[in-house]
Symmetry: C2
Subunit: 388 residues, 2 copies
């Protein structure tokens, strides 16, 4: 492993009854002027909005609202939120929703404390130095945003989907109750599953040598996702199945399974270019790109793909070359994605090859991407072409 610094300051509340028992006290640590950030209204349909605003009002908070944050959250929404923070002297942002809502709230938290344009953080023109305190109530098992310092935002004027990260962007507290995810529709559930396992792939396929425990921790999360995903799709109202998926999604990207490992993240970069132009769900894009990335880079580290095949997918290595076992493992990833109903090619979204050169160009705008195998523009073009 590499030398590392690890610090995850988020206070995590998991399970039933935690919002009722602890939300008011957590909020009051930071102030009483709260900006509630949420999405398309499902939190109103299922009663979470009433519960949370009731608790905030009983706690003496003045609540301002930014509703309507989109999937693939937009810079325009972020800017509206920043204006509210500045005009109303917001002391705490409370994001109630899935990863998009949380990521938008992080952008607002950083932008409200910055004298320039918040987009600077995503274009790498500036580094986050400060942020408003942020709390979250999660309603979708997917991004892990509830316990990390990452944020992804889309600028629709320029069709750019970019990410930033900072120690200042970790939520101060996050409430994860699987009961708030039982109404998530099937397609969103599937995209969440793809997203969480993809996060583990990005960390697992690392150029860092000698990470035996980290490898096994990553494999633990992958294997649990693969085993339990069918259950949550068969029984979407099973609290137990939802709980397992929610907990996997948090552990998949809170840094705990890959300390001292350099991640790859090329696939996320490539997918962001697709959804930045076509506005497809991030998880759908990942299900298409990841197996093709794996096939493209397998020879950069056959051993690691072999290890995944044997340890996560129980591929029998007897009488096979390591490379064949590795490829069989990649085949199992495809089979898994197909089995849960995820898309398998860009054609599934009616996307053709016309923008591949543009997407490839933008994917490497900050330089070559990927660490397991470094990818240049032409590599990205080949991977995208394989996705058609």
């Amino acid at each position: 492993m590499k030398a590392f610094r690890f610090h995850n300051p988020t206070v995590l509340y998991y399970g039933a009854g935690q919002i009722e028992a602890h939300l008011a006290a957590e909020v009051r640590k930071y102030g009483s002027r709260v900006l509630l950030v949420y999405g398309g209204g499902s939190i109103k349909r299922f009663g979470l909005y009433d519960k949370v605003t009731g608790i905030l009002k009983n706690a003496g908070c003045t609540v301002f609202e930014l509703p309507g944050v989109e999937p693939n959250p937009r810079l325009s929404s972020v800017r509206r939120g920043i204006d509210i923070c500045r005009n109303e002297n917001i002391e705490l942002i409370l994001a109630v929703g899935g990863g998009s809502v949380l990521d938008a709230a992080k952008a607002i938290a950083a932008g409200a404390k910055y004298n320039g344009d918040v987009w600077d953080f995503y274009t790498k023109r500036a580094v986050v130095q400060d942020a408003l305190p942020l709390g979250t109530i999660l309603t979708l098992a997917a991004t892990g945003s509830e316990m990390n310092g990452n944020s992804v935002i889309t600028n629709w004027e320029t069709k750019d989907k970019l990410s930033t990260g900072s120690p200042h962007l970790y939520p101060k507290f996050s409430f994860c109750d699987p009961a708030n995810t039982v109404t998530v529709p099937r397609d969103q559930t599937v995209y969440g599953i793809v997203d969480m396992i993809s996060h583990v792939f990005e960390q697992y396929f690392s150029p860092t040598p000698h990470t035996p425990l980290q490898d096994r921790l990553c494999e633990a999360v992958m294997r649990t996702i693969v085993e339990h995903a069918p259950r949550v799709l068969e029984q979407p109202d099973s609290l137990e199945a939802r709980e397992t998926m929610m907990y996997c999604s948090t552990m998949a990207l809170n840094g705990m399974i890959s300390m001292g490992m350099e991640g790859d993240w090329a696939t996320h970069n490539i997918e962001h270019e697709i959804s930045a132009i076509y506005d497809i769900p991030h998880g759908g894009g990942l299900a298409i790109v990841f197996p093709r990335w794996m096939e493209y880079v397998v020879d950069a580290g056959v051993e690691k793909f072999y290890q995944m095949a044997v340890r996560v997918f129980d591929v029998d290595p007897a009488g096979k070359t390591k490379r064949d076992v590795a490829l069989e493992g990649i085949g199992r990833v495809k089979t898994f994605f197909r089995s849960i109903g995820a898309p398998s090619s860009l054609a599934d979204y009616g996307i053709g090859g016309e923008n591949i050169p543009v997407m490839a160009e933008k994917a490497v705008r900050f330089g070559p991407i990927g660490r397991f195998k470094v990818l240049h523009k032409e590599d990205v073009e080949r991977i995208l072409s394989a996705c058609l």
Copy 2:
């Protein structure tokens, strides 16, 4: 899993060069009057003392010292440390050593902010409400004390070895460099290995149902310890092998692998009664007691023992009853302990049965122990008798 709150605030620095790069800045966050707590002098022999005091002095700190903290750290040493803190207005305690030094430093940190006797925290007469800031530099892979809020102290006047825990006792920062463990003697290395895998056992054998990811995370740590322990004993100066053991010991007891699971901890309770009377190494006692505890409680949860046997020790279940597979797994634990040279019975330390009733009585002083199976005095007596 159960509903839970998780917060691990420790800033963890791992690997080479981190002390030189970051210790001064971390210390300065808390003040300049530092109490350096350490053990028997190995940190002086191997240069760590000079390195650390040099950094502290360059950072403008006034350094006070509490040397000579014992294995199975003693209340008398803790009281000396508390006196120094009070008399010298100490602002930060810096513990340099293994788990005993760190645990003593935690007791000092709590005691210095308490108007009563620090032993009250261990006898459950008081709860830690505040503590001096504590930083650590770890020199032994074993207890996980560098990233948790636990402390175990022995009162030699009463022959009581008791533990306490508090959110206030998490180190503010910990530096773990495997290079500082390469000179650890073979017996201490072995005891550390037993201690770390025992910590995972205590969490894994839980009464909490439905913890599929937590189970696999625990298995990841157990399996890595079992696979890599022989390497560190064969090549004690291998930085890579030391690194793996050190990282396993931290992950084994920082709370990350067992969120929402109730631990058992009966074996630790029982072992503490042995070392409180006979002053044997904690890891040595655990190697004796744990397999006997497993055999005694196996029927309280055959399924979990079966799972460990298959997933951690690759026991082939074909044609066997679940209970037979479970027992075979317990046999593999014994084999593992024997293979690394750990003791296997109290006779190895020349300990007979004369104090078994006293030890059993004291083990349940606060009520029955254990959660996987609740143990009363007579259960503890039977387990201890099996250890003779």
